[in-house]
Symmetry: C2
Subunit: 391 residues, 2 copies
């Protein structure tokens, strides 16, 4: 059980508004900003290098907390500047050749798709999409067939899409990737921090996550999990630097053993400290508890919103994360924006160009996204539903 | 003229020690940390996205101040997470093919070399080094000959090496690159903030810089200049994302017009704000004034250190930036480390594996690096020399 009073006390930002944008950029608990201020204050007084030297143990704590979060070893974790940075570095470790296939879903993140298109332009790779079933779930039979026929070099799945709240069956796809021995990357940007994410169960080679969303960490932070299999196979980022490699001779280098070969040497340690505290905070509450609390909130929100005749939910799939999106055929976007702003509700907006494939299928130009998190109350959910109710 | 009292008043970290490590990570002026705290405080209260929306004008100021610093337009500037990140993204924009030559110097930065080796391993590029003259200056005749005979696709020069204080003739090499129409990248990690860096005069296509060193900004920040020529030629980072490109159709994207196509969407805006203030602070003092003040300090330091019989300066070249390195044949590293620590002097240490080619030539295993900046006083320089004097 979550002590909601304590959690809200730790989160001054949630006390004067209804904050429903944790899928955008959440509210940090006090310990995150306090730790960052302390670190920055030390840097101001003695400089960045001396501070990092003194704080080495607390820096190491980042890898420990992250490994507890994802169920792996600290050596499998790299710090990154955001989820896309983590994802891009992982992608860059594969030596793509003309004709290589990346197998992905219709619901993969826009920036992943743009990176695929860039790889297509540069190296001539091909992008193949797994079909969805009519209910929006990914078609696992089609996935397996395409693994067999297209022989992809990489499978990429976005765990929870940014433009809707479904949870993809990443464990089942992981089984298939293991069977057919295919590199497997999971974009967990919208899942880490709100549901249990277990890399052992997912059986992925790479998993990327961000700090600022459901983990409630600072902006400009993220992390990358890399499997032992990928490390042992010698995968390394194309633009490896002196953090990830040793300069051996005038003609060569060798990558280090751990996942930190995917980091660059220079890091904002105040941000890393903030992210560490955010992860620790989540670990202490427990991801199982967070997941349960969120499921209650989102079920309440969906079941009441669905009764609103002005809107239609743009949700599909059989498993729901703590994100709900809706659009309207009778009212313009501005109508809802005005209502939510007037009532001091924080929310997100998505446009067609952010999720082209999905929005083309749904034939919507915009959605409003509400993403409750465990610091929200049922009363806040009901108040929001009331705000959106037809007059 | 610099108001040294004001500058030191703005820099609490310089008041209780002799800080001579601006080439490592410098001391920020108060305005940098104060601005970051204010920004982070707003994020704590209203969340990261809402804060960025409200602070858009101040975010735009980063591009304006950076363009004033480097003598270009704001549209030619991209924010980066550090200098190596900026450099790597620039490098990734070139479609390297087997046999392509990168022409560089013996003094280019370790992480640049490691990236070159990675490109060699992945794509079969070749790395050719311009010779140095006996005095350590780069041999411009050899540079031109190699441009003609090797037809490099890219010339890379580190403006001021990290392991010694010479200033490379980047303008003269820029002339040659323009004549022979070769892409030209300058690593200005150790020069920006301490001397005038003018991209129009250098005629480079890319210039990478860091925040934390002589610019006195936060850790985890940097910037990349990209020329109109490179932008108009359509150069774009391999791992472009939704910041740098628009998703046009289900099969394609188009890069945006400005240098921001080299950014990723997600950024630590508190860090960007801090860097903006650091650049503004430097611009207000004037880079010409900073350069003059630093030259005085470094000349005093070198001319007095050279009289110390325990040490030998590991410096060469005809133009000196505000970095001096020394080693010793009579005393171990620990001897000097102890003396400097006891006297509360901040300094840097370099080891052979950080600058393999240079240190092999000089036959040293370590150097101590002292890097004064304009907030230092002549008295501090003399005190440091005294500390190091033979007993």
């Amino acid at each position: 059980m979550i002590d909601i009073n304590k959690v809200r006390f730790d989160t001054p930002g949630c006390q004067d508004k209804i904050f429903l944008n944790s899928a955008g950029s959440s509210l940090v608990p006090n310990i995150v900003s306090d730790t960052m201020y302390q670190y920055l204050e030390q840097e101001r007084m003695i400089g960045g290098y001396q501070t990092a030297l003194i704080q080495q143990d607390k820096i190491d704590e980042f890898y420990i907390q992250s490994s507890l979060l994802l169920n792996c070893e600290p050596k499998n974790i790299a710090f990154s500047y955001n989820a896309t940075d983590a994802y891009a570095k992982a992608l860059s470790s594969i030596n793509f050749r003309s004709g290589d296939v990346i197998l992905t879903s219709d619901d993969d993140y826009i920036s992943n798709y743009i990176a695929f298109f860039s790889l297509k332009k540069r190296f001539g790779i091909e992008i193949v999409r797994i079909k969805n079933l009519d209910n929006g779930d990914i078609d696992l039979i089609d996935a397996e067939e395409k693994m067999v026929t297209c022989k992809p070099i990489l499978v990429s799945i976005t765990h929870v899409p940014t433009n809707s709240g479904k949870i993809q069956p990443v464990e089942k796809i992981g089984e298939l990737c293991a069977t057919y021995d295919i590199w497997y990357i999971v974009d967990a940007c919208q899942s880490v921090g709100q549901i249990i994410v277990d890399v052992k169960k997912i059986k992925c080679d790479f998993l990327s996550a961000t700090g600022r969303k459901f983990l409630r960490g600072p902006r400009g932070t993220g992390l990358l999990y890399i499997s032992d299999k990928a490390l042992n196979a010698g995968l390394e980022p194309l633009m490896i630097d002196m953090r990830g490699a040793k300069w051996n001779s005038e003609q060569s280098y060798s990558p280090i053993d751990t996942a930190r070969r995917f980091e660059l040497w220079e890091v904002s340690y105040s941000n890393l400290m903030g992210l560490t505290e955010a992860i620790k905070y989540a670990n202490q509450i427990g991801l199982g508890n967070i997941q349960s609390a969120n499921l209650k909130l989102i079920n309440l929100l969906k079941s009441t919103l669905i009764q609103n005749i002005d809107i239609h939910l743009t949700e599909e799939g059989s498993r729901s994360a703590s994100i709900v999106t809706f659009s309207s055929r009778s009212k313009p976007l501005e109508y809802f924006v005005q209502k939510l702003n007037d009532a001091n509700v924080s929310y997100g907006v998505g446009y067609r160009e952010f999720a082209l494939i999905d929005f083309n299928k749904k034939d919507v130009d915009w959605v409003i996204r509400l993403s409750p998190h465990y610091f929200n109350t049922e009363q806040e959910i009901m108040n929001t539903v009331e705000v959106l109710a037809p007059v």
